[in-house]
């Protein structure tokens, strides 16, 4: 892929799941890609997908006619790197390469697993519902939530018999990871070579999600906030990377799903969508919705009239001109 393709007017679009909890995208799988693009100082648009909560191809990045899907070849970040679209990890010195790889793997496995466990097993369902299913009809959301919870348990081998042991193992690994990361970060601004790499993006996304989205009673959150430098890292970049305005285009879902519902739990941080956009839409659709309701009411009334007044039920299935071979002589 030529660099000039990026430098061309072709825009880069990140398609991710909806935002919330003070984050531009509240999905722990999508947020690393967002942070990566922000660290790389790339201009991109954020488009929200509301109807694919269980798909593994999200997040994906569109750059012109090309698409980098998350379920291909190591994920979006790998593809962006290999295709030379955005190379945050280029020119990494050989000295720290092995360390960088092991740190990245630790974040991508141990910490990612811990977040999955918290989201789908440990915490109540309101957080996952808000992030993934609040824009789907209730029945579909419930079924998909149950399915996803079951899949996560299967993936990690969690059963009713071993849930306690598995939980201890997951939190133990997460603690080890936090310890190692804290030691690695020290008082530096970045983890490696005083510049942002994909490790910084991955950890920022993970930590921002844990601190903002998980309830204060979460064990994972409690483990993280014990390390002051890790918390400082998040606070330092959260303002620049995650709260700075970013352009977001229309939703990818064409069904204009309702605005996000706020999570019900009091323990979760709540971050409703920007209200002005919602008000505009309401003003535009008010009269049309009213007309649509009148239209539907008229249809229902006409059906009821047909059923009761017109009495067209007398000769169901058998008309006088029914060609059934029976002949009558009058």
């Amino acid at each position: 892929m030529d660099d000039e393709r990026v430098e061309d007017a072709q825009e880069i679009v990140l398609v991710a799941r909806k935002g919330g909890f003070g984050l531009p995208t509240a999905c722990p799988v999508c947020l690393p890609v967002y942070c990566y693009l922000r660290f790389a100082k790339v201009n991109f648009k954020l488009r929200i997908d509301r109807s694919n909560p269980d798909s593994d191809h999200i997040p994906y990045v569109e750059y012109g006619d090309y698409v980098a899907l998350n379920n291909e070849k190591g994920g979006v970040l790998e593809i962006l790197n290999e295709e030379n679209i955005i190379q945050l990890d280029s020119e990494l010195s050989k000295d720290c390469f092995s360390d960088w790889v092991s740190t990245k793997v630790m974040i991508s496995t141990w910490l990612a697993e811990a977040v999955q466990y918290e989201l789908w097993v440990a915490c109540d369902s309101s957080i996952a519902d808000y992030i993934y299913f609040s824009d789907l009809p209730w029945a579909i959301g419930k079924v998909l939530h149950w399915n996803q919870s079951r899949a996560v348990k299967q993936l990690h081998g969690i059963t009713k018999l071993n849930v306690t042991e598995k939980e201890e193992e997951i939190y133990r690994k997460a603690n080890l990871a936090y310890n190692a990361l804290s030691a690695k970060l020290g008082n530096e601004e970045f983890f490696f070579e005083e510049r942002p790499t994909s490790v910084d993006a991955l950890f920022l996304a993970h930590a921002a999600f844990v601190i903002n989205a998980l309830p204060e009673t979460s064990l994972l959150r409690s483990s993280l906030v014990k390390y002051a430098n890790l918390t400082r890292f998040v606070e330092t970049f959260k303002g620049d990377m995650l709260e700075a305005s970013c352009s977001s285009s229309q939703t990818a879902s064409p069904f204009e799903a309702s605005s996000s519902s706020v999570p019900r739990t009091k323990k979760s941080k709540q971050s409703p969508k920007p209200k002005p956009k919602k008000r505009e839409r309401t003003e535009e659709e008010k009269s049309f919705r009213r007309r649509a309701k009148y239209f539907i009411a008229a249809q229902v009334v006409s059906v009821l009239i047909f059923l009761t007044v017109l009495g067209g039920m007398g000769d169901f299935g058998v008309d006088d001109d029914d060609n059934d071979g029976l002949a009558y002589d009058d």
């Binding site: 009809p137 069904f255 659709e285 049309f288 539907i296 169901f316 299935g317 029914d322």
Partner: protein
């Protein structure tokens, strides 16, 4: 009189009962004379059968002269071991009670017989019209003898060989066959309410599979309309045409179902999946889950003389669908309307007839329509080889075009050269020339579809063809399919007219009892840039 369930028998009065039932009162005012006649008739009941036939003939003559006043006193139902009596009475009582003459009674008996047979839960139905009690003159009793099905469970398994349209282009013969398996089980009258339970499944080698369970009731409580409910699991593979797979899990409730009118409620979970990772941007934005809650009303009037080879008459069909019914505003919301008009005019030579028709359909979201598009699974797709002559099925068929072969398209995903090389290296056989993959296009469907056709059918000169119904036809058809939901304010009317596709052809039609088979030579007159149309010989099967 005994009326059997055999439709060929017709109505035949029993000779022994002839005098009692038929020679009742001839006029409404002759009350005393009627009583005297009845007394005489009772004495004559035991005459031998020869004279009974004479009486039967006299009775028929009497019936043809004018109304013979009589009323039904009692309806007796026998043989219903499992079937609820109320069900049978609901089907027949109204017809008998409204009969005030012998002629009307005979007609009512035939009607009742047909209705009971239509329930499809009886082996046989016999209706006997017997004379009423002597204390009640001018009355008759109706005796309904039914035989319930001995084995309520039935099933069948069918293997179809459905040839893909046979395309014979000058140099190439390309023929693909798809086998499909269809099986069904039916359980009749399980609870005695005329309920019919059925389970069916179908599988085609192109990846489409369907499983459905259904139950139908002839009537539900006080509502006399048949009620059908169906649960359906359907998986359709559109990878070849649009790079996605479709899974539908639905519940369908038929609220009203008559020959002309049908009202159905549908609740369907629609999932669009992308196993290929190559769909276009338009398809990618539509992937995911959605819930459809809709009511659909269709009205069909078909006054053509034949559904396989119409030569006279007209047919009209209108289907309206409103989706988004429910308290949840995250449901799919759209309005859809289809019109279908057909006509057939006989030309008076070689049994020729001119068939013509026009079909139109439109779908649009009814909430936020200015900035949203219609759901992919509800759009119109055009292009197939099924004949538009017979079936009232909406704007879908256009000869010369493959399935989903015309209409809006979008370019599939571009895969970079580097990844093509890696993929080829991994598969160790590909062309590692570094070129970018050829760009196919996905059919994305449209919101407004219009088709029209004219078809001239005529007998072939050979007698053997005429006797078997094989005939020839010439046709021309036009059609267009566009997306309008995103540009409704500035509807491109001129562009819509300019982009109509057309084709013409000639062929042979072989009608069978189940379907209409055609072998046509189709000539493509006009197509647009990304359409999949082709001139050549095409083979089609269509049902009415």
């Amino acid at each position: 009189m005994a009326i059997t369930s055999d439709p060929e028998v017709g109505v035949n009065p029993k000779p022994g009962d002839t005098e009692a039932e038929i020679e009742g009162t001839a006029d409404a005012g002759d009350g005393e004379e009627a009583d005297n006649d009845e007394t005489e008739e009772e004495e004559e009941e035991e005459e031998p059968s020869a004279s009974g036939r004479e009486k039967f003939n006299r009775a028929l003559i009497r019936l043809s002269e004018g109304p013979v006043r009589i009323r039904v006193h009692d309806v007796i139902i026998r043989g219903n071991g499992k079937t609820k009596k109320a069900l049978i009475e609901a089907e027949v009582l109204d017809a008998f009670r409204s009969a005030s003459s012998m002629q009307e009674l005979l007609r009512a008996a035939g009607l009742a017989n047909a209705r009971l047979r239509q329930l499809d839960i009886f082996e046989s139905v016999t209706i006997v019209l017997d004379s009423g009690s002597s204390e009640l003159p001018n009355t008759a009793n109706v005796i309904i003898d039914i035989v319930e099905v001995k084995n309520p469970l039935s099933g069948d398994l069918v293997v179809y060989t459905k040839p893909e349209p046979l395309e014979l282009v000058v140099h190439i013969v390309n023929q693909a066959r798809y086998r499909s398996f269809e099986g069904s089980l039916k359980l009749k009258n399980l609870f005695g309410y005329g309920d019919i339970w059925d389970a069916s499944g179908a599988y085609e080698f192109d990846g489409t599979s369907e499983i459905s369970l259904g139950v139908s009731l002839p009537r539900f409580r006080i509502i006399p309309a048949p009620l059908t409910t169906r649960v359906l699991l359907l998986s359709q593979d559109w990878l070849k045409f649009s790079s996605y797979k479709e899974h539908l899990l639905g519940l369908s409730v038929g609220l009203i179902s008559t020959r002309k009118h049908e009202l159905t409620y549908n609740l369907t979970w629609c999932s669009l999946l992308d196993p290929s990772s190559i769909p276009s941007k338009s398809i990618r934005s539509q992937l995911g889950h959605s819930l459809l809650s809709s009511i659909r009303y269709s009205c069909k009037i078909d006054h053509r003389d034949s559904k396989v080879r119409p030569t006279r008459g007209y047919a009209f069909s209108s289907t309206s669908q409103i989706a988004g019914l429910g308290p949840d505003n995250r449901l799919i919301q759209f309005l859809r309307q289809d019109f279908d008009l057909r006509g057939a005019i006989p030309l008076g030579f070689y049994n020729a007839a001119l068939n013509f028709g026009v079909t139109a359909g439109a779908v649009m979201p009814w909430a936020g329509f200015t900035n949203s598009s219609t759901p992919m699974c509800e759009r119109f797709y055009m292009g197939s080889h099924s004949s538009p002559v017979c079936k009232l099925g909406g704007p879908a068929s256009l000869f010369s075009f493959k399935q989903r072969g015309l209409g809006p398209t979008d370019m599939q995903r571009v895969i970079s050269s580097k990844r093509i090389e890696d993929k080829d290296a991994a598969s160790s056989g590909g062309d590692a020339s570094g070129s970018i993959a050829s760009q196919n296009r996905d059919a994305v469907g449209g919101d407004l579809a219009v088709t029209a056709f004219a078809d001239l059918s005529f007998d072939l000169p050979l007698k053997v063809f005429r006797e078997s119904g094989v005939h020839g036809h010439m046709f021309i058809n036009v059609g267009n399919l566009i997306k309008v939901s995103e540009e409704l304010a500035n509807f491109p009317f001129h562009r819509f007219l300019d982009t109509f596709r057309s084709s013409a052809g000639v062929g042979i039609v072989i009608p069978t009892r189940l379907f209409r088979m055609e072998i046509n030579y189709c000539y493509l007159l006009k197509q647009s840039e990304h359409d999949h149309g082709k001139t050549g010989i095409q083979f089609s099967l269509s049902t009415s």
